[in-house]
């Protein structure tokens, strides 16, 4: 007797509803739990809170942002998902991890009714990136795992490096611009 796992059905998955923030990077749409986000900021409004990492040890992280005495490593969304470079205008500051994510724009807040596990045939980095898939307005949208933006090792390396080398972006470039 065999068991079918891959063709993921809603029946085998969590049916409780969850508020999600729907955002886009390039041509792609993603969802992330609203509970995982502490703050959403326009990149133009960040000013002197942004510091540039002098030494880039994780290629997708080039900046750090200070908020309420806490530091957040700014992950480039298009670098993280290996997408062509885009023009991010929005920063998602995450709640339970010292990570902020640059995305192109927020599309909407939505209620996610179903999340299905990623089919087992997906065997790449997406298994770390996503909690699963959901269907919003007839579209299949990946639900991002907030812990997937930076691994524990990457965080450790960044934290070590950040304390040694950091400089306010304003003083270096006079702009505080994230990209």
């Amino acid at each position: 007797m065999t068991q079918s796992h891959n063709s993921v059905s809603a029946a085998s998955n969590n049916r409780t509803t969850e508020q999600v923030v729907v955002f886009s990077i390039g041509e792609f749409t993603f969802a992330i739990s609203a509970a995982a986000i502490q703050e959403i900021r326009n990149t133009d409004s960040l000013g002197g809170m942004v510091m540039e990492l002098e030494s880039v040890v994780v290629s997708k992280v080039r900046h750090i942002i200070e908020r309420d005495s806490r530091s957040y490593f700014v992950v480039s969304g298009f670098d993280h998902f290996h997408l062509p470079s885009s023009r991010p205008t929005t920063l998602l500051i995450l709640a339970k991890t010292p990570t902020a994510v640059l995305v192109d724009r927020i599309e909407e807040m939505a209620e996610m009714r179903t999340i299905v596990t990623l089919p087992r045939s997906f065997q790449g980095e997406e298994r770390v990136w996503y909690r699963g898939l959901t269907i919003l307005d007839g579209r299949v949208v990946p639900v991002v795992d907030p812990k997937g933006f930076l691994t524990a090792n990457e965080l450790h390396t960044l934290e070590q490096t950040a304390t040694e080398h950091q400089e306010p972006v304003d003083s270096v470039h006079g702009g505080g611009e994230l990209s």
Partner: protein
């Protein structure tokens, strides 16, 4: 009489993938579906070009064009849903096909050509069609994809 009982005559699904007509053993085919929408999102798994939704289920779409034709498949409205057994777990995949498929019964002959993935051939009114081993075709597609990536990297 030397006829086999009807239930023992193997059946095959004949499908068109790009310019090539192929046959697959019908036991591995779950269904043929019409899906207008291929959903895509970033990932790094080779050969998967997106997913389709069928009766609330999310099915990965595997592009077999690289292995069978040497080039990626063009977009399709029809998908063959194929069941693969890996260990004791069955997985379902959709593969894009061009146009409708046929279900035929017949005797499988040895392959007409040496091929990495043909396990036999069917003679359909004079048209000889390769019967494809799906797993070998996937392996071939992965190899072609890998070669393409290496070539692209070498050119950079």
């Amino acid at each position: 009489m030397n006829e086999e009982p009807l239930e023992r005559v193997p059946s095959f699904v004949v499908a068109q993938i790009g310019s090539r007509r192929i046959a697959l053993q019908s036991s591995s085919i779950a269904e043929l579906i019409l899906s207008p929408l291929l959903h895509t999102f970033p990932h790094t798994t080779s050969l998967i070009v997106g997913v389709v939704v069928r009766r609330g289920r999310v099915l990965p779409v595997l592009d077999m064009g690289l292995g069978l034709l040497g080039v990626p498949s063009t977009s399709a409205k029809f998908y063959l849903v194929i069941e693969r057994h890996i260990g004791n777990v069955a997985d379902r995949y959709a593969i894009p096909v061009d146009g409708e498929c046929e279900l035929v019964s017949g005797i499988m002959f040895p392959p007409k050509d040496e091929s990495e993935f043909a396990i036999g051939s069917l003679d359909l009114a004079g048209n000889v069609i390769d019967v494809i081993d799906f797993e070998k075709a996937i392996a071939r597609s992965l190899a072609v994809k890998s070669e393409n990536v290496e070539t692209a990297e070498a050119l950079q």
